[in-house]
Symmetry: C2
Subunit: 214 residues, 2 copies
DNA sequence: GTTATATCGATATCAGTATATCGATATGCT
DNA sequence: AGCATATCGATATACTGATATCGATATAAC
């Protein structure tokens, strides 16, 4: 993989947060920003912020003032690939699926949903936000007309793994799973399980812990 | 905080996954299960699985056969508090809000949404899945009629932090945030930021990394 | 009944991330 | 102009979670 340094998952999760903040303060006229100030805003550690920045930006900050807001924005956007978008398909046009299809924010995150599928014949041909819903039979054909490499799964739990497998057969290389189960994929495929049960469990545990100490 | 051992966030995130799997194989008639088998199913490390289990179950596994499926299920459910549910309120009844309100799976995760709010007068009084939508003015009054400690935020980005602050004023102690920004809360409040941008960034990065190495 | 082995649980090691330390320096202030 | 200081970047340390090692043992197979 040529040369580019490994960047940790945790760092990558923080970068979009910094970016949103920077864009906000840029709008408000800020020119310079220090890692200290960023850190204070998020309740993060300033050293961590500085190290995160160092990994995606070659511009070095200046003592006393910090970094140039606009330069940082560019560097982070560039690193995250927000300039040139990737195509994605979505399978499952129920409540959540439709919500995601209607979400206008993906484009600015470098993601463009280019096709939608569902197994329910009642939905075939319907349009959600300009996206026609295709049958599952058309999966292969439609995907291959696009350059989509990401598949978003918003089907019920029972069919999710099967849908996942089919997407991979169709050449999909990254799975963004919203179904309530942990999908398993071959090692050459990237997977992100958006597990609400796991997330809620952590929240509840932390809530309980904080309640205890008062 | 009395005695109960600290359990790591990572462990807690895995527990619901184990649980779903165990319930599934229990239905299929499995009586015993080994950490090895669980690990294989998820592509996890068996030692990790065993350590996770050891933290929530006092029952010890037997060489050669492993653990009793039904006992494990009970212990994990008990640890995660899936028996007695906590109440939650939701603020923001747009697409995502409605989807969450309609989701029937929360009850089995120990969560019950007991009230819904929105700032749009056109929605006041409407019912979604048996939940009446209240105005934001009623926030305090309605919350205090419940024992809700968790607030789910599904409002647009612009108003999210403000909504968060108000919920905390009303006595909410845990925030589950689905708005696309990183909310900051006082240290006695638990927060879970469901940050899709962060999540997508990780997926994209891993996808790019895997694409590179072929 | 004996033996081979899968699995457990405890302890030790390793890896990766977060935090702390510290010298250097550019800027703002007097 | 000179001084005080906030911030940087590099290096070092500490912490946390993941993985490896290994002896003990219950079970399955023969």
């Amino acid at each position: 993989m040529s040369n580019s340094k490994e960047v940790s998952k945790s760092t990558i999760e923080r970068l979009p947060k910094y970016l949103r903040y920077l864009i906000e303060i840029d709008k408000m006229g800020a020119v310079d920003i220090s890692s200290t100030t960023i850190a204070e805003h998020f309740n993060f550690n300033p050293i961590q912020v500085r190290k995160d920045i160092a990994q995606v930006s070659k511009k070095s900050g200046k003592p006393k003032t910090g970094f140039k807001v606009k330069e940082l924005i560019k560097d982070i956007q560039n690193f995250l690939g927000y300039n040139n978008y990737s195509e994605a398909v979505i399978v499952g046009c129920g409540g959540l699926g439709k919500t995601l299809m209607a979400y206008s924010g993906f484009l600015s995150l470098g993601l463009k949903i280019v096709a939608a599928f569902d197994s329910n014949p009642a939905l075939f041909g319907l349009e959600v936000n300009g996206l026609k819903i295709h049958s599952m039979e058309e999966l292969d054909a439609v995907i291959n007309k696009t350059s989509a490499k990401i598949g978003i799964i918003t089907v019920p739990r029972e069919s999710a793994q099967q849908v996942c497998d089919r997407l991979i057969e169709c050449g999909i290389k990254g799975i963004w799973n919203f179904a309530p189960l942990h999908l398993v994929v071959p090692s050459d495929v990237a997977i992100r399980n958006e597990d609400m049960a796991a997330s809620l469990a952590v929240l509840s545990y932390e809530l309980a812990a904080k309640q205890k100490s008062d």
